[in-house]
């Protein structure tokens, strides 16, 4: 006897095509550049406190801008993007 066959539906949802983009060009040097360090205010301070201390000490020619923010991911506003040459995303969870 031939066993009955069925069409069985796919439970997986829909995902649109994602265009994969290249990374932004890297800087030739950090000297004289503005680097925003975006950290989670109050989070993982055992790392961020010594990091924020040594950056200007060891790299005094870089314009370090510290952005403290509570959030899920590091981000820059449109205004901040106008002056930032690079970003260190230090929001660690």
């Amino acid at each position: 006897m031939v066993e009955k066959t069925y069409k069985c539906l796919n439970p997986v949802g829909n995902q649109a095509i994602v265009d994969l983009k290249p990374l932004a060009p890297r800087l030739d040097t950090l000297d004289g550049k503005t680097v925003v360090v975006c950290i989670n205010a109050g989070g993982d301070q055992d790392i961020t406190i010594p990091l924020l201390k040594v950056l200007p000490e060891r790299y005094p020619n870089v314009n370090w801008e510290i952005k403290r923010k509570f959030g899920f991911s590091a981000e820059l506003t449109e205004e901040e993007k106008k002056t930032a040459d690079a970003m260190i995303a230090g929001v660690i969870w």
């Binding site: 066993e3 009955k4 066959t5 069925y6 069409k7 069985c8 539906l9 796919n10 439970p11 997986v12 949802g13 829909n14 995902q15 649109a16 095509i17 994602v18 265009d19 994969l20 983009k21 290249p22 990374l23 932004a24 060009p25 890297r26 800087l27 030739d28 040097t29 950090l30 680097v35 205010a41 109050g42 989070g43 993982d44 301070q45 055992d46 790392i47 406190i49 010594p50 990091l51 040594v54 060891r58 790299y59 403290r68 509570f70 959030g71 899920f72 991911s73 590091a74 981000e75 820059l76 993007k81 930032a84 040459d85 690079a86 970003m87 260190i88 995303a89 230090g90 660690i92 969870w93």
Partner: protein
């Protein structure tokens, strides 16, 4: 969009700091945002900070100046999913093998298998016939996309994403969309009866099992007439096992987390212990004391409206249900005749109740946490509060808020305020003064808004207060089931 990718795509080079065990989740999120090669360095979970910084600092800064590799400079396309309506055609026995397939996850310790389409257990095979039966219990078309029926603000503490009315529901963590038919497929697989389907569709509108952050941090309460119509259990054992509606509706949420949210531990979801609470439970609106409103009325859907209320299961991908311990019979002795330890603590020894059992719990409610509280309250305990003079839930919420004040000295010893106060650099809202300027004896509320608390009258049996986290702030927590009928 993953915000770091947005910065990189604006032409600003970035480097991210993360833990090694989070690396694949980072790559997945970056890929879904169109920047699969985002540079990152790994920090340590164990090294002292200064030593860790010394170790990673050269790599951190090098990532901003090191020339791009060929792979980092390339473009490409991540192919679409969802265009294959039929997953498999064959016998049911053959289909079971397909639906129960697993994949080895090397990003988990000892590389365990994780189910590709299920919660790890066998499922009902979603044949066209069974899915059609499910679809007969909604007026919505099979190809209709699940759409937000209301605006939703960005969720509490800035985590998660907001959504506008009319926009497709993006299932966390990988943000796929789904149609009514795809929800029906998952409902069949979970073992739902067709009459449960409007409830499952409503849970889909609420984001499915992944919740607002993809970590399974929300549970579902049914409030309104449909709970009885579909035979939910309101009494002993609401969290299961045993009742088909409570259990299978919850399971459908979990399957949507896998199949719509793309949830795979440590691949797309860097949660913690996971979310074991996959039962949907009903509110017992018929057992509310006189004048107390059910969740359906609280959210303006009326007594005859049926809704899903999204319950906060806790932060960080770990379900968090507390229970205040009363000895067997301890609560009853306290209320009936003022006997026992509860009565002694409250100074009502020998005095018959009703007494306010919350007074007994106050010392523990904010010992290690902050914020409002959701109480799962047995009907007889709600009645005691009513007899004591609380003629609405709101009166209890307001009383609790007044009782929630602690000293700044105490508040400074809690963990979350380190971030909630902007590392103590922020302004304390009740005084308008910087946190750092407030004296040790200044009193701060642990509940900011009285209505952050929530009482859900449900369950039966021995009197224990069980409690969870607050209502979630900016999200709209009530969803109409009737819309999906």
């Amino acid at each position: 969009m993953f915000q770091v990718a947005e910065v990189e795509q604006a032409g600003i080079p970035t480097v991210s700091m993360l833990y090694q065990d989070q690396d694949e989740c980072f790559v997945q999120a970056a890929t879904m945002s169109g920047s699969p090669c985002l540079r990152r360095i790994h920090v340590s979970r164990t090294l002292p900070g200064p030593e860790d910084v010394d170790g990673f600092l050269p790599d951190l800064l090098d990532a901003l100046v090191r020339p791009l590799t060929e792979e980092e400079s390339s473009t490409g396309v991540l192919k679409a999913l969802g265009d294959q309506r039929i997953l498999f055609e064959g016998t049911l026995e053959e289909a079971e093998k397909v639906y129960n397939e697993v994949e080895t996850i090397t990003y988990l310790r000892y590389s365990p298998p994780i189910a590709k389409y299920t919660d790890g257990l066998p499922v009902v095979i979603p044949t066209e016939e069974k899915v059609k039966e499910m679809l007969a219990h909604t007026s919505h078309a099979p190809d209709e996309l699940i759409i937000h029926q209301k605006d939703h603000g960005r969720m509490v503490l800035g985590m998660g994403e907001g959504a506008k009315k009319g926009s497709p529901v993006l299932f966390q963590p990988v943000k796929r969309t789904a149609t009514v038919e795809q929800v029906a497929v998952n409902a069949v697989m979970a073992g739902c009866k067709p009459e449960y389907f409007p409830v499952v569709l409503t849970i889909a509108e609420a984001g499915g099992g992944g919740g607002f952050d993809g970590r399974g941090s929300q549970g579902y309460i049914v409030s309104g007439p449909i709970a009885k119509e579909i035979g939910m259990n309101f009494d002993v054992g609401i969290f299961g096992p045993g009742n088909p509606a409570n259990r299978s509706i919850g399971r459908a949420a979990e399957l949507m987390w896998r199949n719509f949210g793309g949830n795979v531990p440590n691949v797309t979801n860097c949660g913690v212990m996971g979310a074991p609470l996959f039962n949907c439970i009903p509110e017992d609106v018929d057992s509310l004391p006189p004048g107390w409103k059910g969740l359906n009325e609280e959210y303006d859907y009326g007594k005859d409206g049926s809704i899903i209320y999204v319950m906060n299961l806790g932060r960080g991908g770990t379900t968090n249900i507390h229970r205040t311990e009363f000895s067997p019979g301890g609560y009853r002795a306290f209320q009936k005749s003022g006997h026992g330890g509860i009565a002694r603590r409250l100074g009502v020894k020998g005095i018959p109740g009703p007494h306010n059992f919350f007074e007994y719990m106050l010392t523990e409610l904010w010992a290690g946490r902050e914020g409002g509280i959701t109480f799962l309250m047995l009907p007889q305990m709600a009645r005691h509060m009513y007899d004591l003079g609380f003629k609405s839930k709101d009166e209890i919420y307001e009383w609790l808020q007044k009782k929630s004040y602690v000293t700044m000295k105490e508040y400074r010893t809690h963990s979350w305020p380190d971030v909630q106060t902007n590392a103590w650099l922020g302004i304390e809202p009740t005084s308008g003064k910087p946190y750092k300027e407030l004296p040790d004896d200044y009193m701060v509320p642990m509940i900011a808004d009285p209505y952050d608390s929530c009482i859900i009258v449900t369950g039966g049996g021995e009197e224990y207060p069980q409690w969870l986290g607050a209502r979630r702030g900016a999200g709209n927590l009530a969803y109409s089931i009737d819309y999906w009928r």
